[in-house]
């Protein structure tokens, strides 16, 4: 044990304090959705009383009261800001968070454990928006999200196409030559398969990319690294060993932005979901409507809904205020058993 090692421990604890503080402030913003007024003196007193009693060890009551009074002040200030929240699945530093920032950097990205939690939270009004991945160049369609989209009573108000650039991250001062295991989401690992084999690294599957980075910084396994976004390095106090470790550098993920309300302003892209009768040519007839009106389709996806029953997702270029698009939508609605215009919006592309 020497001063340098002790300082490393202190830095790591500071990092955890920051993460916890941020997590607390996030809950504060959510709590605001349930409150009628920001000021609640009873609750403040309750917090300070409990903190005073639980202060142990070197932490003295007066010191901790000062800190918590400051924290409560800052919480109230944040609640006053009237931030809009955008929910995403995963931990901080997930690619969905990167997409959220790219779409609108003034929104506060909010981590959720599952896609269902994102959908439900937007539906119930906890979050103003949700950012969900629908497809990836290498991995294909994100089935879980598409299933939820079939029945969700939400609007698509935007889309983001994000180039996925993976980084190899390790604890500070790790000798990169000692790294043996690399944790990440199986899809990310498969996108870096050649890089891993060139350097004799063993891929270890983990729930998600940012979660692997977080685990690395918390449990500090030896001879290990994670593959995750660049954002994760400062978030979890990790060092970037190598940027761009993916085997193919043109890997994109497409995200949709969900909201309870419709998109403001005019869009240039539309998404619909529909189901057709089980008869010869029904899907063909729908597609013909778009072909005849010279509308360019950008995505077509079929998802099994109930046994023998499929939901079709269709994205196309154009605004729902254009005459040919309006006519096409009216035609398609008549020809299908279920039909919903999910939204008309603009798409943003990362460089």
């Amino acid at each position: 044990m020497n001063l340098k090692e002790i300082r490393k421990k202190i830095d790591s604890i500071d990092g955890q304090i920051l993460q916890l503080l941020n997590a607390r402030m996030e809950q504060v913003l959510i709590a605001n959705k349930f409150k009628t007024e920001i000021e609640d003196t009873d609750r403040e007193k309750e917090i300070l009383d409990r903190i005073r009693i639980s202060a142990t060890g070197l932490i003295q009551g007066e010191f901790i009261e000062r800190i918590f009074t400051e924290m409560i002040q800052e919480s109230k200030r944040l609640q006053n800001e009237g931030f809009n929240l955008i929910a995403f699945q995963g931990d901080h530093g997930a690619y969905s968070e990167e997409a959220s920032i790219l779409w609108n950097s003034r929104l506060v990205p909010f981590p959720c454990r599952s896609f269902a939690e994102v959908f439900e939270g937007v539906q119930s009004g906890l979050y103003d928006y949700g950012m969900v991945p629908v497809e990836n160049t290498l991995g294909g369609s994100v089935d879980q999200v598409n299933h939820l989209l079939i029945h969700a009573d939400l609007h698509v108000v935007g889309a983001v196409e994000l180039p996925v650039r993976h980084c190899l991250l390790a604890l500070p001062d790790t000798d990169h030559r000692q790294i043996r295991s690399v944790y990440s989401h199986p899809q990310a690992l498969s996108q870096c398969r050649r890089f891993l084999s060139r350097n004799n690294l063993e891929p270890v599957p983990y729930n998600d990319t940012a979660g692997a980075a977080k685990m690395l910084s918390e449990t500090r396994p030896k001879r290990s690294a994670a593959i995750a976004s660049r954002l994760c390095a400062p978030l979890y106090n990790l060092e970037i060993i190598k940027e761009g470790v993916e085997d193919i550098d043109r890997n994109m993920t497409r995200f949709l932005v969900l909201s309870k309300g419709e998109a403001m302003g005019e869009g240039d892209k539309c998404s619909i979901v529909f189901a057709t009768e089980h008869k010869a040519g029904t899907l063909f007839n729908v597609l013909r409507v778009f072909a005849e009106k010279d509308i360019n389709l950008t995505r077509i996806e079929s998802i099994p809904n109930e046994p023998g029953d499929y939901a079709f997702f269709l994205d196309f270029e154009g605004s729902d205020k254009d005459r040919p698009v309006m006519e096409a939508l009216a035609d398609v609605e008549r020809m299908t058993t279920q039909f919903r215009l999910m939204g008309c919006y603009t798409e943003r592309r990362g460089q």
């Binding site: 990169h176 030559r177 890089f195 060139r198 350097n199 004799n200 970037i240 060993i241 190598k242």
Partner: protein
């Protein structure tokens, strides 16, 4: 040279080997590699990279792992240095050549570099040669300071035999009784390599002479001798260089050298063109 199945000019290897690194082609173009002896900081490396690029260099050199005579001398920035070189490449578009000294570093250095250099002291480090023989990036093999042509080509053979066909040779001076220069730059090795091997050969007059005043004449002489390129040390502030500062050119000096190389190149192609016409006439 019977044992040189792959490195010598015979059998399957009658034509000259051309080796690509980024947009650079060794054995076809006259390749000028320039840059600092070692990567000292991001600022110094990026600045030098931009200066040599502006003067017309084709590739950037810079050491991240420095084998030094004394263990107390600056040993290089390691991985940090590789990241800086990668950034310099992104900013200038110049492919990177950097030295690897340890077999355990080979796979990692090749993640960042376009060409891996084996230094003079490691020319006969056979485990290192076998390791660079496994990668898919070209290797710049410097001549050992006490090595004969045959020994040198045998080391190239190690890399070729391990499966990497892309070896570039680099003459960097040998030890003689002369003390005025740091080493004796053996330019006669250039035509000797051309006679015996199909591999490209470049010349490093910075280490070869260790004297700033001699770099330009020896660079021109290397071109005249038929070398496929040169590698020179350039530092944005030579007086502040952390290693080999007596042989580091300023960007201005390097710019002057590039102009002269250009002139020599065009008069050489005129001369070679005429010579070829002459020989053509005698054949008919």
């Amino acid at each position: 040279m019977n044992a040189l199945r792959l490195a010598s000019l015979n059998g399957d290897h009658l034509g000259r080997t051309i080796i690509s690194a980024g947009n650079v082609r060794f054995g076809e173009d006259f390749v000028v590699i320039a840059g600092p002896c070692s990567v000292e900081s991001e600022e110094q490396t990026l600045k030098t990279a931009q200066e040599v690029k502006a003067a017309g260099a084709h590739m950037l050199r810079g050491g991240a792992f420095k084998p030094r005579t004394s263990p107390y001398d600056f040993q290089g920035l390691g991985l940090q240095g590789l990241k800086i070189l990668e950034k310099a490449k992104q900013e200038t578009g110049l492919p990177i050549v950097t030295e690897v000294t340890d077999p355990r570093d080979v796979s990692w250095v090749s993640e960042y570099a376009d060409v891996l250099q084996i230094g003079t002291r490691n020319m006969q480090n056979f485990s290192l040669l076998k390791e660079v023989g496994k990668i898919d990036k070209p290797v710049l093999l410097k001549r050992g300071m006490n090595s004969t042509l045959k020994e040198w080509l045998n080391c190239a053979e190690y890399i070729l035999a391990a499966g990497n066909p892309n070896v570039i040779l680099c003459e960097r001076g040998i030890r003689t009784f002369e003390t005025y220069t740091r080493n004796t730059l053996d330019l006669s090795i250039v035509p000797a390599v051309k006679e015996t091997s199909h591999l490209p050969i470049i010349v490093d007059p910075s280490h070869g002479t260790g004297r700033l005043s001699m770099i330009e004449p020896m660079s021109l002489a290397a071109m005249a001798a038929g070398a496929d390129g040169i590698m020179v040390e350039v530092h944005c502030k030579p007086a502040e260089a952390m290693c080999d500062k007596d042989q580091a050119m300023s960007p201005d000096m390097f710019g002057g050298l590039m102009k002269k190389l250009h002139i020599l190149r065009s008069s050489m192609s005129k001369m070679n063109g005429k010579a070829m016409q002459g020989s053509g006439a005698s054949n008919s």
